[in-house]
Symmetry: C2
Subunit: 151 residues, 2 copies
DNA sequence: TATTGTTATACTCTATAACTATA
DNA sequence: TATAGTTATAGAGTATAACAATA
C-alpha cells in the first residue's frame, strides 16, 4: 500500500556469502584431513596443481599466481622437494630464478589429492541430487573463472 | 572397446571441493574486510547471528554450536561486550553460566554485517545471471542444512 | 639499482591445559 | 566430583623486513 517499504530483512546466515565462507572452510578442513596422510597441506596441493598445469614455474610466478608471499613458497618448495615431488633448478638464463618441475612422484601425490577432492565431490553431490549438483558445479566454475583462479 | 578404462582424469582445480574451498576463502576475506571497520571479525558476526536466532545463550552452548573452544568464546564475548553489542549476566539459577544477550547496538552491528554479506551476494549474482545465481543459493542452502549449520 | 630467493622475526588465530567458582 | 568460565601458554600458518646472490 503506502509507506511499507520492501525491507528484505535477510538473515546473515542465509546469505550466499556466509554459506560459501562456512561451507568452504568445512570442505577445506576435510580436504586437509584427507591429504595429511601424504604429508601435504592444501597449499602443497595447490602448488603441485599449478606446476602440473604449466602456468607457473619460478617461485616468484608461483607466489603471484597463488596470491601468497614468496617467503611462503620457499617453505612449500622445501617440503615438496624433500618428498621428492618437485625438482628445483637454477634457470641457466637467469641464475636468480629457481625453476620448479613436478616429478613422477609429484604427479602421484597430486593424483592422490585429486582423489580426495573427488570423493568429497561425490559426497556433496549425493546430498544434493544430480541437477542441483550440476548447477552448483557450473556456478562455481563460472565464479572461479571470474575470480581469476587457476584451473 | 577393450582395456580402455574410463579414466576420468579430472584436474584438482576443477573439482567442486577445491573451488568451494578457494572461493569460500576469498569470500570470507572480503567479508572480513567489509566488517573490520566496525571492529568485528567473522566469528563476532557469527556469534551475534547466533544470539539473534536464540539458538544459544550460554558461552558453552555457543562454543558447541560454533564448533570452537570455550576459551575462544570468552575473547569474542569480551570484545562484543566492550562494543556494547552484548550483555553478559550470570544465570541466577546456575551462577556458573554466563548468559549473553544481544543488545540494540548488537542488532545494529549484525545488520551492518548482513548488509556487507548482501552486497557480496549481489556481486556474486551479477557475475552469474539470475538462474545460476538462484541455483547456487539453493544448493548452498541445502548443503548448509545437511551440514548442521545454524540458520 | 632492481629482482629472485632466502632467512629472521613478528603477527593472527586458535587450541590445550591449568585454574577458579559454582554445582 | 563435575561443570562453566577464565587465564596462561603453545602451536599452526602466514606476512613483513632484512639479507645474499645475480642481473
Amino acid at each position: 500500500m503506502w509507506g511499507v517499504k520492501d525491507v528484505k530483512q535477510e538473515k546473515l546466515t542465509d546469505t550466499v556469502a556466509f554459506r560459501l565462507g562456512t561451507l568452504g572452510a568445512i570442505t577445506a578442513d576435510r580436504f586437509a584431513e584427507g591429504i595429511a596422510v601424504h604429508g601435504l597441506r592444501a597449499k602443497h596441493a595447490g602448488l603441485l596443481a599449478l606446476l602440473a598445469s604449466g602456468a607457473a614455474a619460478s617461485q616468484q610466478e608461483i607466489a603471484r599466481t597463488m596470491k601468497v608471499t614468496p617467503s611462503l613458497v620457499v617453505g612449500l618448495a622445501d617440503d615438496l622437494e624433500e618428498l621428492g615431488a618437485v625438482g628445483r633448478e637454477r634457470d641457466p638464463d637467469d641464475r636468480r630464478r629457481q625453476v620448479l618441475t613436478i616429478t613422477g612422484r609429484g604427479h602421484e601425490l597430486l593424483a592422490a589429492c585429486t582423489a580426495v577432492a573427488h570423493a568429497l565431490d561425490e559426497e556433496l553431490a549425493a546430498g544434493l541430487g544430480d541437477a542441483p549438483a550440476a548447477a552448483l558445479r557450473d556456478a562455481l566454475a563460472l565464479l572461479a573463472a571470474r575470480s581469476g583462479l587457476p584451473g
